[in-house]
């Protein structure tokens, strides 16, 4: 009798062990930096992925974007990094140079990622010396949102609901200012110490075919073109076509309340604008002002941080999620972002979404401003110099000189 019980217990334990092993789930720690409008959409994607994958459990941690990279880098360096993380494509080189993320070519092919399906413009930003370090998730360029009612007041709305920009863009804004009831024809994020106005400058500088700001450890900015872009913007602010000093949410709300007739900001706000009552808006890619259609933009990508002990299973699970999330880019597009895969853009689910198709082309106009580990420093030097022009402290020429000096100092360290 006793033996029988013992046998039964043993059998039960054995069965327990094996079935446990069969159903063993791999947990993937996943860090991201989403906030405001887009965080909920990412949470929904993770939830749906977890529901449809028995063996993988993705565990999301959302961090504050201002301090995101500081935390990601220090955690990874001390061996406490996540298994999967979001990175802007403009920060990928910096992370790869520091050895903080791992190349994904082979690993990706193992889980069935076909790199040729991704948008080439983004993928080239994630490629360093022939190795791909990131799975592109989206692109988010600046686009131009407009309030249809206010444009109609100034007779600037075409039959098909697009803006009638017949002369120059400034003529358009001037007419909008004089003939509509809007307080401001346009708004963009102009808090002096924030990146908003720098993004507009970057777009204009590249529309003039400006050279890269830095090549190797030399400053190679095209000073004349940099000045021309600044002068264009200065005039815009001086004529009060766009208010200065606006905080981020303030600038969004000026548009939502109908105080500003148009809004120049990133595509991530589409989802928020759609949920704004009594706002009849449309959207187009950023207007072409100079020689080409270049526009500031960045791209969210998925990267695998370096870990001391390599857990192949975890890495494959992490990339399985990356593949699934990019294959289901239409879920992410709900927030407003442009999917990274041509195959997603062709899906009916995406094509039927309002607004997105109006700016999907902008993904090809994006110029990234990555400069390796100095990306943040260079942006800040230029932003500071620009803000002094807006505040009438220095001229456009002096600003470019100041920025160059600042960047040279940065590079000499």
């Amino acid at each position: 009798m006793k033996k029988k019980i013992l046998f039964l217990v043993l059998a039960a334990v054995l069965v327990g062990f094996t079935s446990n092993a069969l159903a063993e789930t791999v947990t993937v720690e996943y860090w991201n930096l989403f906030g405001g409008g887009d965080a909920e959409f990412m949470d929904a994607i993770v939830e749906e992925f977890n529901a449809s994958h028995e063996n993988i459990e993705v565990d999301v941690t959302r961090l504050e974007w201002e301090e995101y990279y500081t935390k990601l880098k220090t955690a990874t360096a001390s061996g406490n990094g996540p298994d999967l993380a979001i990175s802007h494509v403009t920060r990928v080189k910096e992370l790869a140079d520091e050895g903080l993320i791992v190349p994904l070519n082979e690993l990706g092919e193992k889980v069935g990622i076909n790199w040729t399906e991704y948008n080439k413009n983004i993928l080239s930003g994630a490629e360093i010396n022939g190795e791909i370090y990131a799975v592109p998730l989206d692109t988010h360029p600046l686009v131009y949102y407009y309030n249809k009612d206010l444009l109609a007041e100034a007779d600037l709305l075409a039959e098909d609901g697009t803006p009638k920009i017949e002369g120059s863009f400034k003529d358009f804004l001037a007419k909008l200012k004089s003939d509509s009831s809007a307080k401001y024809p346009m708004t963009n994020w102009t808090k002096l110490t924030a990146e908003g106005h720098y993004r507009v400058w970057w777009s204009l500088y590249n529309q003039l075919n400006g050279s890269p700001v830095v090549t190797g450890d030399k400053v190679t900015i095209d000073q004349a073109k940099a000045v021309e872009a600044i002068k264009y913007m200065k005039d815009l602010y001086d004529k009060k076509y766009s208010p200065l000093h606006s905080e981020y949410m303030e600038n969004i709300n000026l548009f939502r309340n109908g105080e500003a007739a148009s809004l120049l900001t990133g595509v991530w706000i589409t989802g928020t604008l759609e949920n704004t009552e009594n706002l009849d808006f449309g959207v187009i890619p950023m207007p072409q002002i100079f020689d080409n259609r270049s526009v500031w933009g960045d791209s969210h990508t998925l990267v695998i941080p370096y870990a001391r002990s390599i857990d192949q299973e975890k890495r494959e699970a992490a990339l399985t999620f990356a593949k699934w999330a990019t294959d289901h880019g239409e879920l992410w597009a709900k927030a407003g972002h442009i999917p990274s895969k041509e195959t997603v853009i062709e899906k009916e689910a995406f094509q039927n979404m309002p607004y997105r198709m109006d700016y999907v082309k902008a993904a090809d106009y994006v110029t990234f401003d990555s400069a390796g580990s100095d990306t943040w420093g260079i942006r800040t030097e230029i932003t500071t110099a620009l803000s002094r022009v807006w505040n009438d402290e220095i001229t456009a020429e002096e600003a470019v000189e100041q920025a160059v000096k600042g960047i040279e100092r940065l590079l000499s360290r």
Binding site: T70, K73, T74, T76, A77, E94, E98, L100, K191, L192, T193, A194, P243, L244, H245, S246, E247, E250, N251, N253, L254, E259, S373, D374, W376, G377, T380, T384, S387, R388, N391, E393, G406, R409, L410, S412, R413
Partner: protein, 296 residues
């Protein structure tokens, strides 16, 4: 062989040692060691995660020639000079007010102290909502009730931005100084005032010849603490003005933070932090010396 007891009778220090050891250990690991480690880092080119090699005093030489270092150090000094007297005197005045035997005295104490319990992120957000130009509360009030036509850029003009930062810090931290002063006020014996009353001293005379002289010791403490707090200013500036316009309100701690964590140069950041540490030590020593002379 001598026993521990005999030994410790001759050297009383040994008796104290076991009591001090736990704290000394923590103090050593979290305060003394990082100071030396920071100095060590400042002699290297050091990214956020690794040591790129010894550079001797290069970081310090770079610092001396870096206008951004001197600019932000100047900003911090300016803030110390403006904010210290403002917040110390503010604390004193509020304490005198709250110490009056009037109705609602408890309410005054609580109201003045309340902001101090809020975190810096909260008070900074409140300030941004209050001072932002196009939909801020203050401009809104001025425009709708006082007929102001133009828009004031509270955070976009250097002088106004400084005003906002000092105002925010005053509102946020003055309650702490008030509490210190209140405690000292309550320590002044009631009999002094009764005696003065008998001698026919007015309220003003009582304030000038009893209250203020009795507060001298606490004023040293409050001033010393305030100067150290003011030197360390960073978070509220970072969150309210971001150091702007341009870099006009960027304090030294923000610059150290930017260089170390945003520009990836821990080595240079450590050099500036060490220099700043020396400055703070000198300031504290000067204060202690002055105080000794005063008392001596």
């Amino acid at each position: 062989m001598k026993s521990y007891n005999q030994l410790s009778d001759r050297y009383p220090f040994l008796k104290a040692l076991p009591f001090m050891l736990p704290f000394a250990l923590v103090y050593g690991i979290f305060l003394i060691y990082p100071i030396f480690r920071g100095f060590w880092m400042s002699l290297h080119r050091w990214t956020m995660i690794r040591n790129m090699g010894f550079v001797g005093l290069d970081n310090y030489l770079y610092m001396i020639k870096d206008p951004a270092f001197w600019g932000s150090l100047g900003n911090t000094l300016l803030f110390v000079i403006i904010s210290t007297p403002t917040i110390v005197i503010g604390g004193l005045v509020l304490a005198l007010l709250a110490n009056q035997k009037i109705k609602g005295q408890l309410f005054i104490k609580i109201a003045f102290f309340l902001p101090y319990v809020l975190s810096v992120a909260v008070i900074s957000s409140i300030m941004v909502y209050f001072f932002q130009p196009h939909s801020g509360l203050l401009n809104g009030i001025l425009q709708s009730y006082f007929g102001m036509e133009e828009t004031i850029f509270w955070l976009g003009e250097t002088k106004l931005a400084w005003f906002v930062i000092v105002f925010a810090t005053l509102w946020w931290t003055v309650g702490f100084n008030m509490v210190l002063y209140l405690a000292a006020l309550q320590d002044i014996p009631e009999s002094f005032y009764e005696a003065a009353e008998v001698d026919g001293a007015t309220k003003l005379q009582q304030l000038l010849y009893i209250t203020l002289p009795s507060l001298k010791p606490i004023t040293w403490v409050v001033t010393l603490l305030q100067i150290i707090f003011s030197f360390k200013i960073f978070a509220q500036v970072w969150l309210i003005t971001g150091g702007g316009p341009g870099t006009d309100t960027r304090p030294i701690v923000q610059y150290i933070y930017e260089v170390s964590f945003k520009q990836n140069s821990m080595g240079y950041g450590a050099a500036m932090a060490f220099a700043f540490f020396i400055i703070l030590v000198l300031v504290s020593m000067a204060q202690i010396y002055l105080r000794k002379r005063e008392e001596g």
